[in-house]
């Protein structure tokens, strides 16, 4: 059964169409990558799934329920990590995570926070002020926040942006580990093709708000006759100037 079911979703800001008739199904245990140039509509799509932006048309069902009607219920079983949000800087890491554990009404919140600090190898940071962390450290804290409620749907918007290759690799391994152990449905955006190839079961190329290509990374590379995903990306990005 699909965890996330998006049907003919569209979003216009004034006359500008940011998302234009996109349909996506994501099953439990499946990771779907969203690829696309800056401004393609990836973040807008994720914000619609979180109920932060209302679609102009179309429907979004999570766990078989309409987000417009069952938002709170859905959000309790969903979580996200995005470069566009932070945790308050002058609060220690542990307190920040504990507060969110309580917002998600988790049983034994302290135990859960310690468990995640361990999993993300950031136990040593627990008493540091969140605002003093490096970009990579705060990404891991944000990821810990995103895992607090063992989400069945996990939205990751550029989780590896600003991470060094070593930490980025650890984050990818962590996500793969999660897929194996907890089987969440994951929607993943990144501008790092290595992320996408390693982590995603399927990829959707979004361009000007529309799905331009879909399939496994191997299928897509074959269709565009390219050796690597970066070249496919560039080809699609420039497709409005040079028809493919």
């Amino acid at each position: 059964m699909s965890i996330l079911s998006i049907k003919h979703i569209a979003k216009s800001f004034g006359t500008f169409r940011a998302v234009d008739d996109i349909s996506i199904e994501v099953a439990a245990g499946e990771t779907v990558g969203l690829l696309g140039v800056n401004g393609a509509g990836k973040t807008t799509l994720m914000n619609m799934i979180l109920g932060l932006i209302t679609p102009t048309s179309g429907s979004i069902n999570v766990f078989g329920k309409d987000i417009a009607k069952h938002r709170l219920e859905i959000l309790r079983r969903t979580n996200f990590c995005t470069t566009y949000a932070a945790l308050p800087g002058n609060v220690p890491v542990f307190s920040n995570l504990l507060i969110f554990a309580k917002l998600y009404q988790i049983d034994q919140p302290k135990k859960k926070v310690y468990e995640l600090l361990e999993l993300l190898e950031i136990t040593s940071l627990k008493d540091k002020l969140t605002g003093t962390l490096s970009a990579g450290e705060s990404t891991r804290v944000n990821l810990a926040k995103a895992l607090l409620n063992d989400p069945e749907l996990l939205l990751l918007d550029e989780p590896t942006a600003s991470l060094d290759p070593d930490i980025a690799d650890k984050v990818r391994k962590l996500i793969i580990h999660l897929q194996k152990t907890r089987k969440p449905a994951v929607l993943y955006t990144s501008h790092n093709m290595r992320d996408i190839e390693e982590v995603c079961d399927r990829v959707l190329f979004i361009h000007q708000g529309k799905i331009h290509a879909a399939g496994t990374t191997a299928e897509i590379k074959e269709r565009f006759s390219e050796e690597n995903l970066d070249d496919v990306f560039i080809k699609i990005a420039r497709s409005d100037k040079q028809p493919i």
Partner: protein, 266 residues
């Protein structure tokens, strides 16, 4: 049903944000104290020049300053808590968490109560020591005054949040300005009858005028101004209902326009 766990977690977060920011803490006490001192001296001066012909003037003014501060603090509790979330880029994390808006507002109302409580104690002490003004002379009416002003502070706080959501960062300064926009109508330092006719109508349409008129009546003849307190409370119930509706509508509207994510990320 709003969850106590969620409200207390949000409240704990605001307290941490405060406790860890010395400037914020300093600010909490600095302005009301300065205001009380300046106005206290102004009235003492006027009283000496008027040859003692302003017998109750000083108590009216000091009572007005202390009570007005409760409205302002309560409005700030709501508006600044929201701005803290905007400034720390945390708004998306909260608004995309399973947090009911009643829980979110409930926590910021509590911040308002804490702010009012803290400054009220300090102000009452100073007023007593410096001017021999005893706030508890109001007896039980004091609860009625405070409750009404805090409720209206919440209303103004909700309106401030709505305007910031709708108009973005350029509307941030409104968080401080809004209480002062209604101050002329609140009759804090003068009788409503001092106002021109059209302003009197507006004044009587809002709860603060009843509170301050009631306060003066209480100080003048030591009577319990329950009529004023009840009228203010009735109006407050209506205003809170309207503010709640306005907040819900604004949220729907900013979700449609994509402004919720814009104010949090820009």
């Amino acid at each position: 049903m709003p969850s106590f766990t969620v409200i207390s977690a949000l409240l704990y977060r605001y307290i941490l944000l405060y406790a860890r920011n010395r400037i914020r803490l300093f600010e909490l006490f600095f302005w009301p104290i300065v205001q009380l001192l300046v106005w206290g001296f102004v009235t003492s001066y006027l009283q000496s020049k008027g040859g003692g012909s302003f017998p109750r003037f000083i108590t009216f003014l000091i009572g007005g300053i202390i009570l007005w501060d409760s409205l302002f603090r309560s409005q700030q509790g709501v508006a600044i808590s929201f701005l803290e979330d905007v400034w720390t880029r945390n708004l998306i994390n909260i608004f995309a968490a399973p947090v009911r808006m009643s829980e979110y507002l409930g926590a910021s109302f509590c911040v308002g109560i804490l702010r009012v409580g803290l400054t009220a104690i300090v102000l009452a002490l100073i007023a007593l020591l410096a001017y021999g003004f005893n706030l508890f002379e109001f007896k039980f009416s004091l609860i009625g005054f405070y409750a009404n002003l805090m409720l209206f502070g919440w209303v103004l706080g909700i309106v401030s949040i709505c305007l910031i959501l709708r108009f973005g960062h350029s509307a941030e300064s409104l968080a401080w300005a809004i209480p002062f926009m209604i101050q002329p109508f609140a009759a804090v330092f003068y009788d409503v009858s001092t106002l021109p006719g059209w302003m009197q109508h507006i004044a009587w349409a809002m709860p603060p005028a009843y509170v301050f008129e009631g306060m003066r009546k209480c100080l003048a003849d030591d009577s319990a101004p329950w009529e004023y307190v009840i009228k203010a409370a009735t109006l407050n119930v209506c205003y809170l209902a309207i503010a709640g509706w306005f907040f819900a509508r604004t949220l729907t509207n900013v979700r449609e326009k994509g402004l919720l994510t814009k104010v949090s990320t820009s």
